[in-house]
């Protein structure tokens, strides 16, 4: 953008006509079944209208006839990149209703698996961001370390992606003995690999030219549109649920919340890379203080919630994930469950971000928002 000398572009006073471009629902860089209608002036985007619903699966209607435990499995399928964290969000809401506590070891398991999930999700971001900018090699690199996280998740939960692991009062199983050594080995490996990754992309001239000053979202807009997570923090807002409303045992760990102030694509990238480092910092503390003995779940109780409304919010890799449970009768079935996913407001703010940029910048901007469409449509 800024590197072009003045007078490089010839300003012509010609009559131009606006036209429409349809992008999606099948498009490699919309990250799923998202459709964007673009109003273009030449190659410049004048307006963007997102169309949702191509993967609307009616989860909230279905939840009304499911038991609470069955809904935990559905929450996996919302934001499948952070399935383990979605489980945590639902389970915390149920625990508030049931009024049961969680033993220390279970809390450690929760925090560790959540942070591993965060790293895995950010690795996908790294891969897709590089891939969308044209660097197909990034895809291979990003998914390389992610498989190590999947190995750990598979060993602990029995599933690679849709974990369905946490339960009110703890989790389904205890962790195996190999869990801590594996996490340790993963962290040691990751520490070195992150240096490679940053050398690979962070100061790459193509990345810098295509992401700095692109898709700027101001602090006021980020708050007004309800953005959260790395997108909000890249716009200079210090907000992280782990710090502002600590859930589980996040208040016991020493970690920092990275905040950058430009609000452009490059800042959203650096915030996520910094978050991987912070997650690793939390995991290191967990590995050292992991309680060897003690119960790994509270005494098992039937999941029945008294009449009332329960709310939980957690910080997934994408942002603020809130679960709102309405129990109209005491029993094992909800009257209504509503999920507030982080990606929905991000796509709502997309129109604000892309106006005036080129269509190739839209791909960069969309990649740095890191949306997961099934979680928008539910």
């Amino acid at each position: 953008m800024s590197s072009l000398p003045p007078g490089f572009r010839i300003e012509r006073d010609t009559n131009t006509e606006e036209f429409f471009i349809n992008m999606g629902p099948q498009h490699p860089s919309t990250h799923g079944a998202l459709r964007l209608a673009l109003r273009m002036d030449g190659e410049t985007i004048v307006e963007l209208v997102p169309h949702f619903g191509y993967i609307h699966r009616g989860m909230e209607k279905q939840a009304e006839s499911m038991s609470y435990l069955q809904y935990i499995a559905l929450s996996d399928r919302q934001d499948y990149l952070t399935a383990i964290q979605n489980n945590l969000g639902v389970v915390i809401a149920l625990e508030k209703g049931m009024g049961i506590g969680v033993p220390e070891k279970a809390e450690y398991i929760r925090v560790m698996l959540s942070e591993l999930g965060r790293i895995a999700s950010h690795m996908v971001f790294f891969a897709c961001f590089g891939g969308d900018l044209g660097g197909q090699t990034c895809l291979l690199y990003g998914f390389k370390e992610r498989e190590m996280v999947h190995d750990i998740l598979e060993e602990v939960t029995g599933s690679r992606l849709t974990t369905n692991f946490f339960r009110p009062g703890g989790s389904r199983y205890d962790v195996p003995d190999t869990f801590i050594p594996r996490v340790k080995a993963f962290l040691d490996h990751m520490e070195d690999t992150m240096k490679d990754y940053e050398r690979f992309l962070s100061k790459n001239i193509v990345v810098l030219e295509r992401s700095r000053g692109i898709g700027v979202l101001s602090k006021e807009d980020a708050i007004a549109y309800g953005c959260s997570g790395p997108v909000l923090r890249a716009s200079g807002v210090n907000f992280d649920v782990r710090r502002n409303n600590p859930y589980s045992i996040y208040d016991q760990f020493d970690f920092e919340v990275p905040v950058t102030y430009n609000g452009d694509c490059y800042d959203r990238y650096t915030v996520r890379i910094a978050e991987i480092h912070e997650s690793m910092k939390i995991l290191r503390q967990c590995v050292e203080e992991f309680p060897k003995d003690g119960p790994w779940r509270a005494k098992e109780k039937p999941v029945r919630l008294p009449v009332g409304r329960y709310y939980s919010e957690i910080e997934t890799a994408k942002g603020l994930y809130a679960t709102y449970v309405v129990a109209a009768t005491t029993g094992d079935k909800p009257y209504r469950i509503h999920t507030r996913g982080p990606s929905f407001p991000h796509i709502a703010a997309l129109n604000k971000m892309v106006q005036g940029y080129k269509i190739s910048d839209l791909v960069t901007i969309l990649a740095t928002l890191d949306p997961v469409i099934p979680e928008i449509d539910r």
Partner: protein
């Protein structure tokens, strides 16, 4: 491959011609089966496993399918990764028609086989991809592991290897064709060539070093001037905000009709003490006061509720509860507003399921985030938002009948979950 399909007609009558046709089959199938190019398409969880299968560890390139094509015109294989909804189905059919034949489809995951976890009480999901397009291979799992996808791919490869141009494209007599030996032969030759090249290069390097012992490369990579990147600033401690009792009392001093519960005489302190940890108080606001209260909360310097978490609704027999969740990023407190919207029972009973039953002022001019959230509530519950700039359906088709999250919603395709 149109010409190939004519080969049996010409060659079979000629003595010995069928051996030529068999040879043509062998070559064509060998080529087709070992370069199945999939289409880049994925809607949900299975797409991630499909991506994993093409990446470093699993490496779909071993089977000749690493070339994921973004355009259906260049693809041979349609991996249906992820749930198919009624809204997506026409797009899938269009994609299928755009793929030139011979083309194949793999239904990946439980959703595309039968609807998977979304069979019961669901109005949006197509129960099985075979209802839309012909499927060659079904891969079960939720989501299937990459190995399972490979098994599906190899099954498809077997199917292609058994094809013949006498009965083109999909049907044919089973035939035992093994290409593995040729594979190994090719791999061995290739490896021998690579070894030869390495040896030659090493020889050349050694020779060069001998001849020029003082040689030093003058090559310098062209780099842009290294910039110093500032350290990412770290956040300070988070603010806590007002207590729930304080919030409510302050709000009540301004709007005296707000209450904290619909029908409870409990004292406020007791209600707040009984709330689960970190659960905000739900403040009941009258229908007329909704907009002024939200406006006040947003602009008052004591509250500064600048962040809209969510707008959602709950359907009861005679009213909707509209729940607006607000938070102050700067000060750290949050509040839930609950508005009862009485259902409009003056509408004829037969028209109630398809008509808007409630009305409330929109807050989208205060919070841009509310625009899409209110569209969702409109789409799911049929609540009218007065003053909304663009009130359309958001998740469902514009000709969809009814509002799904109402309790009395029915849909012809919905199967009740057996109790």
């Amino acid at each position: 491959m149109g010409i190939v399909n004519f080969a049996p007609k010409i060659l079979d009558p000629i003595p010995g011609g069928k051996y030529v046709v068999n040879a043509i089959d062998y070559v064509v199938n060998w080529a087709r089966a070992n370069s199945i190019w999939p289409l880049t398409y994925g809607t949900s969880c299975c797409a991630i496993e499909m991506m994993s299968s093409s990446m470093a560890r699993y490496d779909i390139a071993r089977f000749g399918s690493e070339v994921f094509r973004a355009s259906p015109r260049q693809a041979d294989l349609f991996i249906l990764a992820g749930t198919i909804t009624r809204r997506m189905a026409p797009a899938i059919q269009m994609l299928w028609e755009q793929i030139p034949g011979p083309k194949y489809a793999i239904a990946m995951g439980a959703c595309t086989i039968s609807g998977g976890p979304f069979i019961y009480d669901n109005y949006a999901v197509v129960r099985g991809a075979q209802n839309i397009i012909p499927i060659d291979v079904f891969v079960p799992g939720c989501p299937p592991r990459p190995e399972a996808l490979f098994h599906g791919l190899l099954t498809l490869r077997d199917k292609i290897l058994h094809e013949t141009c006498r009965d083109p494209w999909h049907e044919g007599e089973p035939k035992d064709v093994s290409t593995m030996d040729r594979y190994r032969e090719a791999a061995n030759t290739w490896a021998a060539l690579e070894r030869m090249k390495d040896e030659e290069m090493a020889e050349a390097r050694a020779k060069f070093k001998e001849e020029n012992p003082d040689y030093k490369s003058s090559f310098k990579p062209v780099r842009v001037k290294k910039e110093e990147f500032p350290e990412i600033p770290r956040a300070a401690k988070a603010p806590v905000g007002m207590k729930q009792v304080e919030i409510f009392k302050k709000l009540q001093s301004k709007f005296d009709t707000v209450t904290y519960h619909t029908h409870s005489e409990d004292p406020l302190e007791e209600v707040v003490a009984n709330l689960p940890a970190d659960m905000p108080l739900e403040v009941m606001v009258g229908r007329e006061q909704y907009l002024p209260v939200v406006e006040f909360l947003k602009n008052d310097p004591d509250f500064k509720m600048d962040y809209l978490i969510d707008v959602t609704a709950i359907d009861y027999d005679d009213h909707f509860d509209l729940v607006t969740q607000l938070r102050s990023i700067e000060l750290g407190h949050k509040i839930f507003l609950c508005v009862q919207i009485k259902k409009d029972f003056s509408i004829d009973e037969s028209e109630r399921p398809t008509s808007l039953l409630g009305k409330i002022e929109s807050i989208s001019h205060l919070y841009p985030a509310a625009e899409f959230k209110e569209r969702e509530v409109y789409d799911m519950f049929g609540i009218d938002f007065i003053g909304h700039p663009d009130l359309r359906r958001i998740f469902l088709d514009k000709d969809f009948v009814g509002f799904p999250l109402r309790k009395d919603f029915t849909h012809p395709e919905m199967i009740r979950r057996p109790v």
